[in-house]
């Protein structure tokens, strides 16, 4: 058992000293070390009254010195040195020490091996350190595990005001989102000026809630992240100014995150991404196939030539006199629908998409049926539209994976919440590692900006306080 060395065991220690060191400590010195040295502690491993090993530490605030460690000769190479070392390190950590320092004779291979196995690194060589002229290594071990750095992230690119605190290991401390969707639903879509105004109204409350819920101070944060683009310029501005305010007032590095990278990296809440990676990004503003070689290399290999898929959903919903946003509405109606109406499959070369032809076909079909006096079956129409639209996504994604073999496929963006799309993805991509974002993370949130910011932080990609927001920023940037 290892405990503090007792006076009664001093004789044994003196004996071990003599057989272990060229400059052994004598009994008087050891006694003083126990009784008078307020910063020093000797720990001894004693079994059945036999001192097997001991170690001496001097504690000096955040630093400590390992001044001695020795194992009785006949007990060497049996793991007692390692046991003592482990104990000493845990004692030092318990005292709040950040570093442990020691000197060792360059010729003492056994001891050096023990120290290296325990995480010590040689800092420098001291020439002629010992009385016999031998050199010594100065060795150091950092005792505190570096704490995962925390990021405060702000998202305001469209109609959600959001703030979250997350760390590098993706531990979530808080995530607060307010949606303006009810307001915009009244207008049948997002009105940019209205969105900007609501962001300003909400921003301080949202940031405050995220900070409060995380039980941290801004000074515990390592970086401030925000959506730099793409998005509505007025909306982006509010989040940018809020983030820069914190970065400036608290002197923190600033990270400008690409919104779609957020949608992609939120998938890491499930599992780490594997590269090369294919991302199918589907939202109200984007329909893109992105080939990702590593966390810094993004290549758009397919994109929409006209409407984004989410936009097509909204427009089709409007044609059917259904509420904004159209995605959830059509998804729900289509569940009740049957094959009935015929809509043309978009014909686009290569990996690109097109949805405006399909949207117009829906409009024509509705007009034709109405003028013929046939009531529209909304369920069947939603079904017809959704099947054509989603199958074109699946088809192009398959083609993309043939051209660009990948280890993993991820779905990203607001439309990733569509139940039929998730079904089709699961059915069609069984031979590749497929990640579908959890439903709660499909719509815009700040956690996704935080997840992406973790990569920016690791790659030291920061922006300055005068960075301009970029409403139509490419993911390749």
């Amino acid at each position: 058992m290892i405990a503090l060395l007792k006076m009664e065991d001093l004789d044994q220690v003196e004996e071990i000293e003599k057989s272990s060191f060229v400059n052994p400590w004598n009994r008087q010195y050891l006694a003083k070390e126990i009784s008078d040295n307020e910063i020093g502690e000797i720990y001894a491993d004693v079994e059945d009254g036999v001192v097997i090993a001991y170690g001496d530490i001097w504690y000096m605030f955040e630093n400590c010195d390992l001044t001695r460690i020795a194992v009785r000769e006949e007990y060497r190479h049996k793991g007692y040195g390692q046991k003592m070392m482990k104990h000493l390190i845990s004692m030092a950590k318990g005292r709040g020490c950040e570093f442990m320092h020691l000197e060792v004779n360059v010729n003492n291979a056994d001891a050096i091996g023990l120290y290296e196995r325990n995480g010590f690194e040689t800092m420098r060589t001291r020439r002629n350190y010992y009385e016999n002229g031998d050199d010594a290594f100065d060795m150091l071990r950092i005792l505190v595990e570096p704490e995962a750095r925390k990021i405060l992230a702000i998202e305001s690119s469209c109609d959600e005001t959001a703030c979250a605190v997350i760390d590098e290991d993706l531990n979530v401390y808080s995530s607060v989102v307010t949606s303006q969707i009810d307001v915009h639903a009244r207008f049948g879509g997002v009105i940019p000026e209205v969105a900007s105004r609501m962001h300003v109204e909400q921003i301080s409350t949202i940031v405050r809630s995220a900070v409060d819920q995380a039980h941290i101070g801004i000074n515990d944060i390592s970086a401030i992240a925000y959506t730099i683009g793409p998005g509505l310029i007025g909306s982006l501005h509010v989040g940018a100014i809020a983030a820069k305010s914190l970065a400036f007032f608290y002197d923190k590095p600033l990270i400008g995150v690409h919104h779609l990278k957020g949608h992609i990296f939120i998938n890491e809440m499930i599992r780490p991404l594997q590269y090369p990676l294919m991302a199918l990004v589907v939202s109200g503003g984007h329909t893109e196939l992105v080939y990702i070689e590593n966390d810094q290399s993004f290549k758009i290999i397919g994109t929409t030539l006209d409407d984004a898929i989410g936009e097509a959903y909204d427009k089709v919903a409007r044609v059917m006199n259904e509420a904004y946003p159209g995605g959830p509405v059509i998804d729900r109606l289509a569940r009740q629908g049957r094959p009935h109406y015929q809509l043309p499959t978009p014909k686009v070369e290569g990996l690109d998409f097109s949805f405006s032809g399909l949207k117009n076909a829906v409009l024509q079909l509705v007009k034709k049926e109405e003028s013929a006096g046939n009531p529209i079956d909304k369920n069947d129409l939603a079904y017809a539209f959704q099947e054509v639209a989603l199958h074109s996504l699946i088809k192009k994604t398959k083609m993309a994976l043939e051209q660009y073999p990948c280890k993993m496929l991820v779905l990203a963006g607001g439309v990733a919440a569509n139940s039929r799309l998730r079904e089709l993805m699961n059915e069609n991509f069984t031979d590749i590692d497929l990640l579908l974002p959890p439903l709660k993370y499909c719509t815009d949130n700040a956690l996704m900006i935080g997840c992406a910011a973790v990569h920016y932080l690791k790659n030291k990609k920061f922006v300055e306080l005068d960075a301009a927001s970029e409403p139509s920023m490419s993911i390749e940037y």
Partner: protein
């Protein structure tokens, strides 16, 4: 008592540090539509010049509008976020009243586009006509000193020293009771943006 004052509402970017009733550092430059990129650069300069840390401020005063919508949102966002997180007191003053700077009988006008102006009439700390958006041809400025976009009324454009203006209007600053409820003074309702 250290107060940071910011005006980003219109053509100028003005940042001032007022300590115990005295300007200790200021920045005021024409910066139309570039405020969102420039404002923190200006703040950096102002704090560096005064050799104080941003965290050491006791309060913020901002011009709340009217003005360019994007512009008024900049200072408002800074004040709301910092006021809430630091935390510190937040004061606001109408942009037009700030421009009036406590002068006698003055009419402040600011281009609101489409032949309209934002206009307020002030006499020292009295409000003669509260801020409003009006058609240019409805304005009669003959009894007043015109401040702001005077050229729209056949006078000269004149904005004065906006750093001094913050200092001179100190007794007119309004303290925000609840920072989360603060909103810019747009003088045009959200509802008017419906399609």
């Amino acid at each position: 008592m250290l107060t940071l004052c910011i005006d980003t509402a219109y053509k100028y970017l003005t940042c001032v540090l007022i300590k115990d009733g005295r300007i200790i550092s200021s920045y005021s430059e024409e910066c139309f539509k570039k405020q969102s990129e420039e404002v923190f650069m200006a703040l950096k300069k102002v704090f560096a010049k005064a050799s104080v840390s941003p965290e050491s401020i006791d309060s913020i005063c901002i011009s709340e509008g009217p003005g360019s919508y994007t512009g008024v949102r900049i200072a408002m966002t800074i004040a709301k976020v910092i006021g809430e997180i630091l935390p510190c007191d937040v004061y606001t003053i109408s942009t037009l009243r700030l421009y009036a700077a406590g002068r006698e009988n003055c009419m402040v006008v600011m281009d609101a586009r489409a032949n309209r102006v934002y206009c307020g009439i002030y006499d020292r700390d009295r409000i003669i006509m509260d801020d409003t958006a009006v058609a240019i041809n409805e304005l009669d400025c003959k009894d007043y000193t015109v401040i702001g976009d005077g050229a729209l009324l056949g006078k000269e454009n004149y904005y004065g020293d906006l750093s001094e203006a913050f200092l001179k209007t100190r007794n007119m600053w309004k303290k925000a009771d609840n920072i989360s409820y603060l909103t810019p003074k747009y003088l045009k309702e959200s509802e008017s943006y419906s399609r």
